[in-house]
């Protein structure tokens, strides 16, 4: 007879094995610091609105007291799909606006592939290159 004091949670409740977008972004944020010997850093900020999560990726130059917003992505509580735009700029959830068509990334692999493209894009190289020059000047 239940008395209301039992633990009703399943025996196998544990962390999901799917790598969340935030973890992938934090890894790349840390990698930027390693690659530039700390001259530049990556930074990820998370904002929530209802059940939407927005992850914003910044490049920071600590010695310049400077922060550049490189891109942002959005996702729900489950983590995937991740929504972004082809340019990696402000993403638009399907129910919003008339902006660029949202890019839907269904799996961690698809998200990693997209992220690799963004981090290797000419735009990212321009930002990183200019900031490193400025820091070393």
């Amino acid at each position: 007879m239940p008395n209301g004091n039992e633990d009703l949670w399943p025996a196998d409740v544990e962390t999901s094995t799917i790598v969340p977008p935030l973890a992938i972004l934090r890894r790349q944020a840390a990698a930027l610091g390693e690659r530039t010997q700390g001259l530049l850093e990556g930074q990820v900020e998370t904002f929530t609105k209802g059940d939407e999560f927005t992850q914003v990726f910044y490049v920071v130059a600590p010695s310049l007291d400077y922060r550049y917003k490189l891109f942002e992505v959005r996702h729900g509580v489950e983590g995937y799909p991740v929504y972004t735009t082809t340019e990696g700029r402000r993403p638009v959830f399907p129910r919003f606006g008339t902006g660029p068509a949202p890019l839907k990334l269904d799996t961690p692999d698809e998200f990693v592939d997209w992220l690799k493209q963004v981090l290797n894009s000419d735009e990212t190289k321009r930002v990183i290159g200019s900031l490193l020059s400025q820091v070393k000047a």
């Binding site: 400077y66 922060r67 550049y68 917003k69 402000r90 919003f96 606006g97 008339t98 902006g99 735009e123």
Partner: protein
């Protein structure tokens, strides 16, 4: 007075018009959006004016270029995106201010709702930079691609920009127990034909039910702490560059010879 000029040049080859404006109004800070000019060549042209040494400042926002009539080190960017550049301007023996420079996406690509959301994010970033700077002396200037009466400009969580100095003097308003700081938006004064200047900065005519014809997409907003440092006639929409009119015969921006936006000039006593 420190004189600022903002112009969305719409990728037009208007280097000579820019030089004429800088010379005519003794501009100290030149801010360009959608410039097609090669920055170094424009810098050389500005320095041929001879009155002061111009400098090209560092910044990574693709659509925004800033030249100064003083050391570029005095305009230090602290936060940028591809369309926003927030900079600290600290001139010797003058008040330090934050300059938030903006070129928002066109209505051709973004809905009014999306533009309003972007204003909320911009307002948040400005508050963060004000906290870090330890003051609220912010000037926001740019092509917002929105009129002063649109949600992104007037909503509390957006830029919270009001039409009179008195209203801005209240400093903030409270909505749902949260305080939102005001901006003063002097651009409201520039609508219509009761004054000498043009009725807006951008003209757009289409055969559809709602059409404002003249729009004021190019705006400058001041935090309350700076309102009294801008003279009442200290914000002007310009229609001439030297001896050249920027308007067509019908009084709208001459898009054949110059930009579809008119330049904005403002002065601040820092």
């Amino acid at each position: 007075m420190t004189t600022f000029l903002f112009w969305n040049t719409n990728k037009k080859p208007v280097e000579e018009a820019i030089a004429a404006l800088v010379e005519m109004h003794m501009v100290d800070v030149l801010i360009l959006a959608e410039s097609s000019a090669r920055p170094v060549e424009l810098l050389e042209r500005l320095n041929q004016l001879g009155k002061q040494g111009f400098h090209l400042t560092f910044g990574l926002s693709k659509g925004i270029i800033v030249f100064t009539g003083f050391s570029s080190q005095l305009v230090h960017p602290v936060y940028e995106t591809d369309r926003i550049s927030i900079r600290r301007l600290a001139l010797p023996a003058r008040l330090e201010i934050l300059l938030a420079l903006v070129h928002f996406p066109s209505k051709l690509f973004w809905s009014e709702d999306s533009q309003a959301f972007e204003c909320t994010e911009l307002a948040r970033q400005i508050r963060i930079q004000e906290d870090e700077a330890g003051h609220n002396r912010t000037v926001l200037v740019g092509d917002l691609n929105m009129n002063p009466f649109e949600s992104g400009l007037v909503s509390a969580a957006g830029l919270n920009a009001v039409m009179t100095r008195d209203l801005a003097g209240r400093r903030f308003r409270t909505v749902q127990s949260k305080q939102y700081p005001f901006f003063y938006n002097p651009m409201w004064n520039h609508f219509g034909d009761r004054h000498d200047g043009p009725p807006g900065t951008y003209y757009y005519e289409r055969s559809e039910h709602v059409c404002h014809f003249w729009n004021i997409f190019d705006q400058v907003l001041f935090r309350p702490d700076l309102v009294n440092r801008c003279p009442s006639d200290g914000v002007r929409i310009l229609t001439r560059a030297g001896d050249r009119s920027l308007l067509s015969e019908d009084g709208t921006p001459n898009t054949r010879l110059a930009s579809d936006h008119l330049p904005l000039l403002f002065e601040l006593d820092l």
